[in-house]
């Protein structure tokens, strides 16, 4: 065996070992690397309830309520399976919208509601012109209406 073949095998083995080690470490650290907990995880007591943590999910449509001071907001964060009520006083990011993703930091109150000290908006990887977004939304409501209308048309 030539020396360069030995080095090749040694380096290939090294990379392989390193990849395995990294995979194991990342698997072990899985819950620490995740940025936030979902409402289901929080309700399953997987989140550190006595400490500050991040709660993430979608803002439930129609759940946003503003108090009269103009700064305090109440909304519901959902992962479509479980919901958690969130209270926050402060300025919301521009992209904060109902139906959009959100990551909030704070603590769980005694009543099971989440007191957020920071709210970050999460946006998705879809980029399109507003006209296209409108057309898509229209098409969606049309098909939804069409489907709802179908049973009535059936004889």
């Amino acid at each position: 065996m030539k020396p360069r073949h030995k080095r090749l095998i040694f380096i290939a083995g090294g990379i392989g070992g390193l990849a395995v080690a990294t995979t194991l470490v990342l698997n072990a650290l899985n819950s620490n690397i995740a940025l936030f907990f979902s409402p289901s995880q929080v309700l399953a007591k997987e989140a550190p309830v006595d400490k500050a943590f991040r709660l993430g999910g979608l803002v439930r449509e129609g759940s946003l309520q503003r108090e009269n001071d103009g700064l305090t907001v109440h909304f519901v964060v959902t992962d479509t399976a479980k919901d958690i009520k969130v209270t926050y006083t402060g300025i919301l990011p521009d992209l904060f919208r109902e139906g959009q993703g959100v990551v909030t930091q704070g603590r769980l109150g005694d009543d099971g509601g989440f007191r957020a000290t920071e709210v970050l908006a999460k946006h998705d990887e879809t980029y399109m012109p507003p006209e296209v977004a409108d057309a898509l939304a229209k098409a969606k409501t049309n098909t939804a209406a069409g489907e709802a209308a179908l049973p009535m048309q059936a004889p």
Partner: protein, 246 residues
């Protein structure tokens, strides 16, 4: 016509080839860069969610791609240098590192500027942002390690080993948004599915990416010529080929 590629593994024959590549790469870089930024800033439509602020993507995404891709190329050269003991391979790795570090910094910086108006924060310690920051430290560590060792062969070996170990970080960056929940959104463009953006946006993104590639080739060739001159300053061919020394 068969080209003998191994001929160019010798610094003496690669030096003039690298010199011929620089103006072409620069021309391609400038043309595609201007075209890409024009399409990105003036032709591509406004985004339905983010308005105009999404346009920083046309710098951010190509820079982030280049930061990862340059690292892979750098590590491959470094490994080739470790296995075959070819001097030119290690010089290529050394020449790529500063450009890779620059693109990593640009990706982090533009990401912070993009994050403030959209997410509401410049920085968050999520998996994507943190692993990209580690990539910057790997580049800086590679440059510093090579610079701190005087013997060029030992410097190349130590740097090569570091580049190799750091390679595990690249798939972590790329798939971090898939493996863990992060604030950073997933990939809009991937091999697995159709891109989730308008065609003009995609065109601008690809043009700027091409420009960054061409730029990287051009400056890497300039730097590798410098490396060759420094390490071969004792040899005769330099005084026969390089203008100004004849």
């Amino acid at each position: 016509m068969a080209i003998n590629w191994f001929k160019y593994s010798s610094p003496a024959s690669f030096y003039p080839l690298a010199g011929r590549m620089i103006p072409w790469a620069m021309a391609v870089g400038v043309l595609t860069g201007v075209a890409g930024l024009y399409v990105g800033f003036f032709v591509a439509p406004t985004d339905y969610q983010q308005g105009e602020s999404y346009r920083i993507m046309f710098i951010h995404v190509p820079a982030a791609w280049m930061s990862m891709f340059t690292y892979i190329v750098m590590a491959v050269w470094a490994v080739a240098g470790l296995i075959w003991n070819t001097r030119l391979s290690s010089m290529m790795a050394t020449a790529l590192a500063p450009t890779g570090a620059m693109f990593t910094f640009i990706a982090l910086w533009t990401g912070a500027l993009w994050g403030k108006p959209t997410w509401g924060t410049y920085w968050v310690w999520d998996a994507r942002l943190t692993s990209e920051l580690i990539l910057l430290f790997l580049y800086i560590g590679f440059i510093a390690l090579q610079a701190s060792i005087d013997d060029p062969r030992r410097a190349a070996r130590a740097g090569g080993l570091l580049a190799l170990v750091g390679l595990v970080n690249v798939p972590i960056i790329y798939w971090s948004v898939k493996w863990w929940n992060t604030l950073h959104q997933g990939a809009s463009i991937s091999f697995a599915k159709a891109p989730t953006m308008a065609a003009e946006m995609l065109l601008a993104l690809l043009l700027v990416t091409l420009a960054f590639w061409a730029y990287t080739i051009a400056v890497a060739m300039m730097r590798v010529r410098c490396e060759i001159l420094e390490s071969e300053r004792q040899s005769n061919w330099i005084y026969e080929t390089v203008e100004g020394l004849r």
